[in-house]
């Protein structure tokens, strides 16, 4: 049984290697580029690794074979229409826009605009030739020798990743908006977005990643993000995921937080056939604040898996985690929230809550809060609830004239509001509320 699974991965990895070699042949002079050296290192590393199987506790509910089975090619750019861009913009919100189609940076569609002094927003390849090359290189090297198969795969095929550098005490007023338009109608493809964000001490910035798909098609997004947040810095990170309901996504985010910094993640998962998020923060010093907010809405045969990890290794750090979701039809949701409070991490405040509504007989939610506390002077709480819509509430709303669907939809939106209302940028919150209500009404 186990060998069979490993063989399956071996065949998949052999395909990736073959695809890699084909790509390499087309590179010509680019082969010697430092970025490509790292890619080669990564594909070799991947050969030594295994994708996680069902026996891996962290992947118990999410079968990666399903994600990896389609024979993916690398994505080719599609044209992104004005209408689509317009539809994906946020009202009254100026942004630094980066557009990717099928994983390829679309330079004509991107509008970076004017950046505050000292800010770098470029491709990773460009960054490797710029003043922050060392910082970018260090992260890439980590990825190239990662023991995580998805990270190695990402590094092996990564192309135009994003590098952002925000100097000390610079406040970026406009969010960086990374819009991924994916359409795999031609043939299943995979794309490997990379982001390296270095936000120095005292800086403030917002990043939005969004995934949209004009058609329901099969493709695989395997994203990797590395964030370094300097002392007293603030970074808000939004993710709006509206992939095709036949698409796959693995999205890994690692955040390094220095003293007194605040990192907030707002993750909204609406699309995808199977989606796996790994959101991890690694505290580097004390006085930090970490907010993880998440909303997930699964219908049909969707499978949405959120794994979060907060490592409290220093005293006086706060973390606040709230994930809420609705699972309907034959869909499945997974939440695994791990919080470690190490022995030295006295005066930690760690709060975690996961609540789900499961609306049909065949819908499933697996939730596992994991709190490991080794310090004694801490305030920690966690809770997980799984429930249905309250019949008495439905009756109340209907007795005021709302029909059954309206009543249910209103209650579901109200249920998620506790999370959504934390989004500080009004126009993003408005878009998210609209997307949620559209998904309920569909």
């Amino acid at each position: 049984m186990n060998t069979a699974v490993q063989d399956k991965f071996a065949a998949i990895k052999a395909n990736y290697k073959q695809l890699f070699d084909q790509l390499e042949d087309r590179l010509n002079g680019y082969k010697d580029h430092p970025l490509h050296q790292l890619r080669r290192q990564a594909i070799d590393q991947l050969a030594t690794l295994n994708f996680p199987g069902r026996k891996n506790e962290d992947w118990k509910y999410t079968p990666v074979t399903r994600m990896l089975q389609p024979s993916y090619k690398t994505g080719t750019a599609i044209s992104v229409s004005d209408e689509l861009l317009q539809a994906q913009s946020f009202e009254d919100l100026d942004v630094h826009l980066l557009v990717f189609s099928n994983g390829q940076l679309d330079e004509t569609r991107s509008q970076i605009g004017e950046l505050p002094e000292g800010v770098i927003l470029s491709s990773i390849a460009t960054a490797l030739e710029g003043p922050q090359a060392d910082k970018a290189n260090k992260v890439l090297e980590q990825w190239a020798k990662s023991t995580d198969a998805f990270a190695a795969l990402n590094m092996a095929f990564a192309d135009k990743g994003v590098f952002a550098y925000i100097p000390a005490n610079v406040r970026m007023n406009k969010p960086v908006y990374m819009l991924h338009v994916n359409d795999g109608n031609e043939a299943p493809f995979f794309s490997h977005p990379q982001r390296i964000i270095v936000a120095e001490r005292g800086s403030e910035s917002h990043f939005i990643e969004r995934y949209v798909s004009p058609e329901d098609s099969v493709y695989f997004t395997n994203a990797l993000t590395h964030i370094e947040l300097g002392a007293n810095g603030k970074l808000d990170h939004y993710k709006i995921q509206q992939e095709s309901v036949q698409a796959f996504q693995v999205n890994q985010v690692d955040v390094l937080q220095e003293r007194d910094s605040t990192y907030s993640s707002y993750a909204v998962d609406l699309g995808g056939r199977m989606v796996r998020n790994n959101l991890r923060t690694h505290l580097q010093s004390s006085g930090t604040m970490t907010n993880f907010y998440g909303v997930y809405l699964a219908k049909g045969e969707q499978h949405l898996d959120n794994q979060t990890f907060i490592d409290h290794a220093f005293p006086h750090c706060d973390s606040n985690e709230l994930y809420k979701g609705v699972i309907d039809d034959k869909a499945r949701g997974v939440f695994n929230g791990k919080v470690i409070v190490r022995q030295d991490a006295q005066k930690t405040n760690a709060f975690q809550q996961n609540s789900s509504l499961v609306l049909s007989q065949k819908a499933v939610m697996d939730t596992k809060p994991q709190l490991e506390i080794y310090a004694d002077d801490v305030k920690c709480s966690h809770g997980a609830t799984i429930g249905q819509l309250d019949e008495e509430s439905i009756f109340y709303l209907r007795s005021r004239g709302l029909n059954k669907e309206q009543a249910r939809s209103l209650l579901q939106q109200a249920f998620l509001k506790e999370v959504v209302e934390n989004m500080k940028i009004d126009s993003i919150r408005t878009v998210v509320e609209k997307l949620i209500s559209e998904k309920f009404d569909s």
């Binding site: 309250d390 008495e392 509430s393 009756f395 109340y396 709303l397 209907r398 007795s399 005021r400 004239g401 709302l402 029909n403 059954k404 309206q406 009543a407 209103l410 209650l411 939106q413 109200a414 249920f415 998620l416 509001k417 506790e418």
Partner: protein, 251 residues
Amino acid sequence: MLKIKDLRVAVEGKEILKGINLEVKPGEVHAIMGPNGSGKSTLAKVLAGREEYEVTGGSIEYKGDDLLELEVDERAREGIFLAFQYPVEIPGVTTASFLKHTLNSVRKARGEEELDAFEMLKLLKEKTKLVEMDKKLLNRSLNDGFSGGEKKRNEVLQMAVLNPTLAVLDETDSGLDIDALRIVSEGVNRLKSEDNAFIVITHYQRLLNHIVPDYVHVLFDGQLVKSGDKTLAYKLEEKGYDWIKEEIAAV
């Protein structure tokens, strides 16, 4: 307007209403009194259309049509309103947006224009004044953390906004202090007209000092065993329900 004939209702197989007969005409106020467990709230919920209550016999005719054929929300859109004994808390939905949703859905069903945000605000301001409710409550989640009195006032506010043809008040007076009772009653009295009717379900006579009924009915063990004018309510307040039990036993 409303004709209830030999209505029998069971909950989880147990018969609660055992043949109710009642006719309500426009402009009338009917009070239904009775001891705990006599079936008062069951009658209220059956009129509103609660699905868990199984009608095992009889009929309810409303505006000439079979009321039992209508879903809960269809009844609301046809002008039936139930003021809940225990209004439900709905966190995450503000009272204002809830009222906007419901009123526009009711108006749409009646073939009336939906109100825009400005008109809605004006209407809500006017109606909150009617029930002497703090406008701040409009921006709070529906009934969430409201005091008992605030919840009941909110019920009357919703009634004022939806302007029903037939309103059923299910123990709206329970848990209210004298001031709240006065405010709630005045709200109801101002809504009274020649075209609408009220069924006031209560345990106590004191509400009927404020909302004066044309008829008082006594519900006992699933049947309306006695009807009269408002003096019947005084007698019940004074003597309790025992004399009625004796009367029934004597028959």
